[in-house]
């Protein structure tokens, strides 16, 4: 009996990634017993070649970015990863070689983040590679961090450094230098802040991940929480390469605040939680920085300079349409 090549390809590339509940990828669906007494947290993100990654990005790093952008959504909710489903549309001529590398990247990240493949679909496309991943995680009942919990007076915090994603993309396109590859790696390989997100449950009042630019994403928190926000321009955490770039580009800070692909956590908390938050972040070996505060009044984001003068920010962030 002929064994269709589509399925032998799935056997070779994806079956090694399958975990509990995946039924060896040999059934129509996965069957999962949800962890008792926990709520499910589910997110889905797509990556399209030339839009979210470049044709010469290594397939392994594309797989890892696909998984990590989704894990970053779980991190923003304070959730623990459980598993994922994935659909892959790839041109026939890229076929197995690309998929093998792609799957190896996923395998490495599965081990790092403790989850496995539950199911999916592998199809051909005449167009760019189109990837979609749905990630499942879990949280204690009613414990998920939301965007709507921010209140005027809260401190505003961000993890890691801001703006490396957009600089990494520019470096990949040859527009700026990147001798040690730091910026490229920040663009290709986001660091989902899962430990931090989980340890902020009960301490952060609201949270989201910064994927489309800090100012634009902060706008989502403002709308969801019904308040405004002030960013202290002098307190934005920047990597060394970002600081160097900024020296050559006065006024460039706003570009870093509007650039996407950072995948850091943005969250607010009452001032009295500050010490505990620093403590918990340190336990996760993750930098967190107080970059501003939520304020009452109009739902807008202002940048406050070192003299305390607020300047409304119009610059947005990434929008697909």
């Amino acid at each position: 009996m002929n064994y269709p090549s589509e399925f032998s390809l799935i056997d070779r590339c994806f079956r090694p990634l399958a975990g509990d509940g995946a039924l060896d990828l040999a059934d129509d669906a996965a069957v999962l017993t949800p962890p008792q007494g926990r709520e499910l947290v589910i997110a889905a993100d797509a990556l399209v070649e030339t839009v979210h990654f470049l044709p010469d990005d290594p397939a392994g790093s594309v797989g890892r970015k696909l998984l990590r952008t989704n894990l970053s959504d779980l991190a923003a909710m304070g959730a623990v990863p459980l598993g994922y489903l994935m659909t892959v549309a790839v041109p026939k001529e890229r076929g197995e070689a690309w998929l093998q590398d792609f799957a190896e990247g996923l395998a490495a990240d599965q081990r790092e983040f403790g989850l496995s493949l539950l199911g999916g679909d592998t199809v051909s496309t005449p167009g760019p590679i189109s990837l979609s991943l749905t990630v499942l995680g879990h949280v204690a009942p009613s414990a998920a961090l939301r965007r709507s919990g921010g209140r005027p007076g809260h401190d505003l915090w961000v993890s890691g450094t801001v703006g490396d994603g957009i600089l990494g993309l520019r470096a990949r396109r040859g527009a700026i230098g990147d001798e040690d590859g730091y910026l490229t790696s920040r663009y290709r390989l986001p660091q989902p802040r899962l430990m931090l997100g989980q340890s902020l449950v009960g301490f952060a009042a609201c949270a989201m991940d910064v994927s489309d630019g800090l100012v634009q994403d902060l706008g989502h928190i403002c709308r969801a929480s019904g308040c405004g926000a002030e960013i202290f321009s002098g307190s934005i955490p920047l990597s060394l390469p970002a600081k160097e770039w900024l020296r050559t580009k006065p006024g460039g800070l706003i570009e870093l605040l509007a650039g996407g692909d950072d995948y850091e956590l943005l969250f607010s908390a009452p001032a009295e939680a500050a010490v505990e938050i620093q403590h918990r972040a340190k336990a996760c070996d993750t930098l967190v920085t107080r970059i501003g505060r939520l304020v009452s009044g109009e739902m807008r984001v202002s940048l406050v300079d070192i003299f305390g003068n607020p300047m409304p920010v119009q610059a947005g962030g990434w929008s697909h349409f």
Copy 2:
């Protein structure tokens, strides 16, 4: 504050589809309380323009086909639909008009099948429209229908009629006539056999949905169940248009058995369950037909003619690679 056009588009097109747990599509993820004492069933399928649907297919029917191909996977497991996440990659120039129609199709099917949108991602692409959907359902513990439960001696059953999908695609391409639009509608609008699948739990021994051609899909059951299968060539249920086509094309039956896009249920059961299965199918208002049996020996599919002579079938079915 600028509201990015990507998000106002999501508000207009997709927020009306959001249900419980979707958090108004305004957070990083959905939060879902799994039904108590049930197992989750999860599947993901992708549709790519020109591969799975044609550029001039109405966007509304594309949305419905996307949802229904996934619901067909739930049907095959005997599961009850719960919700879905979806990622949509669409060229900027197709933009909102296409997405509005697409969402209207989904809205109609959400009402028909009793589920709602939980989350997802809407992105731009330079290439063909690429859609991915992850559907969640639930079953009683250990009750999910599997492909591996078939045993030699079981009757082999199929729902509905076979081969309309491939004839519908040919009609859409102008290769054959379709005056009343029946075949086109069978290609565009699969009928997920959810009620039938649910009522087969405890009666069918194995099940799957026929999406890549009956012979090829039956091969999956043979491999999973460790047995062979005989199809009685005279007993394949055919629609009137398929019968008419077959009259003009002697020997064409194998093309119908190898053609994809039928989305019927294929299942096996011990002979003593036959009356109960007929009874339950009738209660679901769904035709089921005994088309053969599982046999011991080699894991292969044979076609048995009206004289009882088995002919090994090499013809496969749809493979993307």
